[in-house]
């Protein structure tokens, strides 16, 4: 059995050690030890589901997951609906699996399966009911911009349905980032285990990259240049508009697909713009961080690529 010790912070920064579970031989069972997890966000939660699902698809044995000892973390995972989605994927061990009553929640969207356009409508309706209040009162977003948050979610979820050819998950939560940004942020994660960008774009774009059609090339084609597999000029704008909105709000967006990750990196972050040779994970994994608006802040005026 291959042991993967989950990091204390289960988020995008520390996702790759989890993805390394996929390097295990197909017939070797994997145990994720989450005993010492102290902090987790939507990217970490859905990322764990995605890696677990990818392992699950390789053989009859479920990967095992030892749950965190920290009761706050376990309660949060329950509140986000993690266990409902994890039970068919993992053999779960230890830990409490019930959410404690904690009054008003900063969850904008619990982990939600996205399998159809009706799910996209449900996500938008749900966020409009609860998320808009958090965005306007706690992150100081004007009402009109809070509506655009719903647009981001809608377009991201539609990418799963139109390109992944399988289902996926979405979740969002507000946090107080004291160390990294000294600001409140909203984190969104949207992931699927579908065909990924390289396979989705290959029929229409691979010939432009003879001998170099890689996950990184496909991500650059879609992320930087708005290429899509459709010939319709109205297509391919989802990611570009999301990037524009995220940049306007001083946020960060990354897309991991296959063995590469590409990102728009704001000044407050020191992450790389492009990573390659990562452990292969099918589909697409998108992470977005949107910081709270600050009155004195100068908004990013230029859209990406402009």
């Amino acid at each position: 059995m291959k042991l993967i010790t989950l990091p204390a912070s289960l988020d995008e920064r520390y996702f790759e050690p989890i993805a390394r579970a996929l390097l295990a031989p197909a017939d070797e069972r994997v145990l994720f030890d989450g005993t010492h997890v102290r902090w987790v966000d939507p990217y970490g939660l859905i990322g764990l589901l995605a890696v677990g699902q990818a392992l699950r698809a390789r053989g009859p044995e479920l990967p095992a997951l030892k749950l965190p000892e920290n009761s706050e973390v376990a309660s949060y995972m329950a509140r986000m609906g993690f266990f409902t989605h994890a039970e068919p994927i993992f053999e779960l061990h230890g830990g409490q699996r019930r959410a404690r009553s904690e009054g008003a929640s900063d969850v904008l969207l619990e982990i939600t399966a996205v399998n159809s356009h009706a799910d996209v409508h449900a996500v938008v309706d749900h966020v409009n009911e609860r998320g808009l209040r958090i965005l306007t009162t706690q992150l100081a977003y004007p009402q009109r911009e809070a509506f655009q948050f719903s647009v981001i979610l809608s377009e991201m979820c539609q990418n799963i349905i139109e390109h992944a050819e399988t289902g996926g998950w979405v979740a969002s939560q507000r946090y107080q980032w004291k160390k990294r940004l000294n600001r409140k942020v909203v984190i969104i994660a949207v992931m699927d285990l579908g065909v990924g960008f390289r396979h989705s774009l290959a029929p229409t774009h691979a010939t432009r990259y003879p001998d170099a059609w890689t996950d990184a090339a496909a991500l650059e084609a879609a992320f930087m240049h708005g290429h899509t597999r459709f010939h319709d000029p109205g297509r391919g704008q989802g990611i570009q508009q999301i990037r524009k909105l995220v940049a306007r709000w001083g946020g960060r967006i990354s897309i991991r697909s296959g063995s590469a990750r590409i990102a728009d990196v704001p000044a407050w972050d020191d992450g790389p713009r492009l990573e390659q040779n990562l452990p292969y994970l099918p589909g697409a994994q998108i992470g977005i961080v949107l910081p709270a608006r600050v009155a004195s802040e100068e908004r990013v005026a230029a859209a990406p690529g402009s």
């Binding site: 356009h117 938008v124 309706d125 009109r144 911009e145 647009v151 809608s154 539609q158």
Partner: protein, 195 residues
């Protein structure tokens, strides 16, 4: 066929209220391509039933969220459908109740398709959204101020040649943003046809 205001039927679509008629589930948020497609098909169907020249008002006043995919299907492809010579009918399109959160997706999809759309934008008033040329924009604005005018009158107001302005107004009529008059080379601003 004549297209003057006397022959134009005013027909108003409340986009929000059309959604539940077009798709089974009632959504006040205009998101996803299937929703936009259903909306467009519903509008096209009603325009076909009218079977005459009409001004169709696309009312966004009750729409909270409009995403790019839905805007592309419902608005951009609708206008495109009524541009070619084989268009189903003589329909012209005017948007109203356009708030800031609607404007950006509308502008983006119109620009991507090279379209224009006359719109009553909250806090701004009548505006030509999309991708007009500078002369088209100026000509549209001058006609908007006049309500009805000939190319020569607009050219005089803009200090441009009549031939250039006539071409710009013809393009705007082709793009369903102004209505050519019965005779005498006049054009009508769409908002002039509203009560």
């Amino acid at each position: 066929m004549t297209h003057g205001p006397a022959h134009v039927v005013r027909f108003s679509f409340d986009l929000s209220s059309l959604v539940p008629r077009s798709v089974a589930t009632l959504y006040s948020n205009l998101v996803t391509r299937p929703t936009g497609e259903a909306l467009r098909v519903g509008i096209e169907s009603q325009l076909a039933e009218l079977g005459t020249s009409c001004l169709s008002v696309l009312d966004f006043s009750q729409v909270m969220v409009l995403d790019y995919s839905c805007a592309d299907e419902a608005v951009a492809k609708l206008i495109r459908r009524f541009q070619p010579q084989d268009r189903p009918s003589e329909a012209y399109f005017l948007a109203r109740g356009v708030a800031e959160q609607h404007r950006e997706p509308l502008e983006e999809v119109l620009i991507r398709h090279g379209l224009v759309l006359a719109a009553d934008v909250e806090g701004i008033g009548y505006t030509l959204l999309g991708a007009p040329s500078l002369l088209e924009q100026l000509s549209w604005a001058a006609l908007q101020r006049a309500g009805t005018a000939t190319a020569g009158e607009v050219a005089l107001a803009l200090q441009k040649t009549e031939a250039d302005v006539a071409s710009a107004l013809q393009n705007l009529a082709y793009r369903r943003a102004v209505i050519p008059g019965d005779a005498g080379g006049s054009y009508h601003a769409l908002s002039a046809l509203l009560p």
